[in-house]
Amino acid sequence: MLAYVIRRMFVGVIMLIVMSLVTFVLFFASPIDPGRYACGKNCSAAQIKQTNKSLGYDKPVIVQWTDFLQGVVKGRDYPDDPELRAAAPQLVTHCPAPCFGYSVVNTKTVNTLMKEAFPVSLSISLAALVLWLFFGVLFGVIAAVKRGTIIDRGIVAIALVLYAFPAFFIGLFLLKFVAIKWQLVDVPVYSPIAEGGVGMWLTSLLLPGITLAVLYMAGYVRMTRAFVLESMGEDYVRTARAKGLKSRRVLFKHSMRAALTPLVTLVGLDFAGLMGGAIITETVFNYNGLGKLAIDANNTNDLPTIIGLVLLLGTFVIVANIIVDVLYAVIDPRVRVG
């Protein structure tokens, strides 16, 4: 098992390296001049050239890429100019390993930017995960047990309607009506645990969490329902009934155990994707998470931040995949033993 995980991690690292290369190439394939953005509108051609030189954008793409990889391993100085370092060390920013680059637009290292934004995204994702998993599975199981009845049809219909709403609609609706017009809750502003305590933290996550959860929940209701119904038709569930087990025990011990296994995979991947930033929800509520950072980086052609975010999201997904596979072995003895 350990060997398997190590092998998977090795493959994951190779994937990340390829991802970084692809992102570099794609970025430089666009006609936009990054030096022009960093320098500003009124720069002369010479100034732009100078900016590009100091940022390293004048070097060939492949050299920039290897410099970047070196930075990840060893750390880097920005700007990497020995003369400047000797003359005015206060102007040089050191970025320790693993260094993902330096954002000129934000005048911070990418590591710092991501470190600031990550807790916000993680918090929103966690809040959404708890809500969508609990209600999604609950309503999915209810619909499956009451299949064909008005309850089942109602749940499936509502899930479909909610699924059809875009995230910005639900987010804006909650913000405009629940928070501003009816004043049922305060207008949400992110409050870290370290500052406002757990209570404030949870309150600040309520509306963004619900916004994200509604979308995922709708999908999970339908999937849970389908998985539970499928498992109810399995031979081993018939065997369990033939033993004379109570229907509740047949449902929870025999049917659900099998039905929820595929959900583990979905939850892992969905959660990993969300941690990399819920772009629309963070933008609607103006929460400075990774999603908002990504939007801003795109709008300002902030290459280092974009690459950092792509790699971070890639890492989440790859790690989540490995965790899900390991979890699978824990759940399913057939995978575990052989």
Partner: protein, 349 residues
């Protein structure tokens, strides 16, 4: 004095959007304690559906079950869901066809067997485990105290079926239904499983219903035989009567399609032409008439228009058949037997 198990006019109908599927349509039979009834028929003839009805496994939302199932004098169909649940697995137990899919892949064999015991006995997990080991030992699993913690996929096919049998018999049921218990197993293991079932039946004095499409299993196991076609009994009798003097062309077809390994290699296997009928729109009259090769011996359109009654055959009162043929015994001896067992006919001459 009625029999131990007495099924009267059992009907299992499944309403669907296209109409009612009559999976079992007026089935009656009796079974005494310690005896074995074999139910034979092709896939979709209603064998499994009927036996699931005895166990009360059909969900009320999808199936309409009517008639009478008297077990030791109690009509199982009149019991409440909870009363039926208490009997399921305790008085009536079932062994399923494919033991790999019939056992839960995520729980150990011991867990699943012990569970069957604990539902009906108020005992600790430890006691249930001890009882599971005892049963695994009884059905011939080597090192049962170690294998009890294995998962089903770690067992071989034959061992899984043994474990299923242990699960079925752990509560000492008075009626055991074995639904194609040997179909998924290879031939050598089949014989072992049948021997085991016979031994255990003697030991536990259970009544056994064995569902199969393998006439070899019938020859080995069954005291009485019920041949089913399109949800109805088409021939009923003792094992000997059915296997040596069948009077219904469908049974002849089943016999003809059994390969004979002792005969010479030139003897051909004669399949029954066509497919089993749709139970949604079964053929008129005798449901077997579209596939029957002896229809021309019945005058007029009788086979197409009229469903024959289940009436006593030519030799004995206990042998019942559902066929319009006037002299089935003679046809069997002169036409069917020479084709399926030429050496036997030769010998008799």
């Amino acid at each position: 004095m009625s029999s131990f198990l007495s099924v009267r006019d059992l009907k299992v109908h499944f309403p669907t959007v296209d109409g009612i599927v009559k999976a079992t349509d007026g089935l009656s039979f009796d079974l005494e304690k310690g005896k074995t009834l074999g139910i034979v028929g092709e896939s979709g003839s209603g064998k499994s559906v009927s036996s699931s009805a005895i166990l009360g496994l059909h969900r009320k939302t999808s199936a309409i079950v009517s008639g009478e199932i008297l077990l030791d004098g109690t009509d199982l169909l009149k019991l409440s869901d909870e009363q039926m649940r208490r009997r399921r697995g305790k008085d009536v137990a079932m062994i399923f066809q494919d033991p790999l899919s019939a056992m839960h892949p995520y729980y150990t064999v011991g867990n699943q067997i012990g569970e069957a015991y604990r539902v009906h006995h108020n005992v600790s997990k430890k006691a249930a485990r001890a009882r599971s080991i005892e049963m695994l030992d009884r059905v011939g699993i080597p090192q049962p105290d170690r294998r009890v913690d294995d998962y089903p996929h770690q067992f071989s096919g034959g061992m899984r079926q043994r474990a299923m049998i242990a699960m079925g018999l752990i509560n000492n049921p008075s009626l055991l239904i074995a639904d194609e218990p040997t179909t998924a197993l290879d031939v050598t293991v089949q014989a072992q499983i049948l021997d085991l079932l016979q031994d255990l039946q003697k030991e536990f004095e259970s009544a056994v219903i064995i569902i199969t499409h393998d006439l070899g299993v019938i020859a080995e196991m069954a005291d009485d035989v019920l041949v089913m076609y399109a949800g109805r009994a088409v021939e009923v009798g003792t094992g000997k009567e059915i296997l040596t003097h069948p009077e219904m062309p469908y049974t002849w077809g089943l016999l003809s399609s059994v390969p004979d390994v002792t005969g010479d290699t030139d003897s051909r296997l004669i399949p029954i032409p066509g497919n089993p009928p749709s139970l949604l729109n079964p053929p008129s009259g005798c449901a077997f008439h579209p596939r029957c090769t002896h229809r021309d011996k019945v005058p007029g359109d009788l086979c197409v228009t009229t469903l024959p009654d289940l009436v006593p055959g030519t030799r004995t009162e206990t042998h019942l058949k559902r066929c319009h043929l006037a002299n089935p015994d003679a046809i069997f001896e002169q036409e069917v037997l020479p084709e399926i067992a030429p050496d036997l006919v030769e010998e008799q001459r």
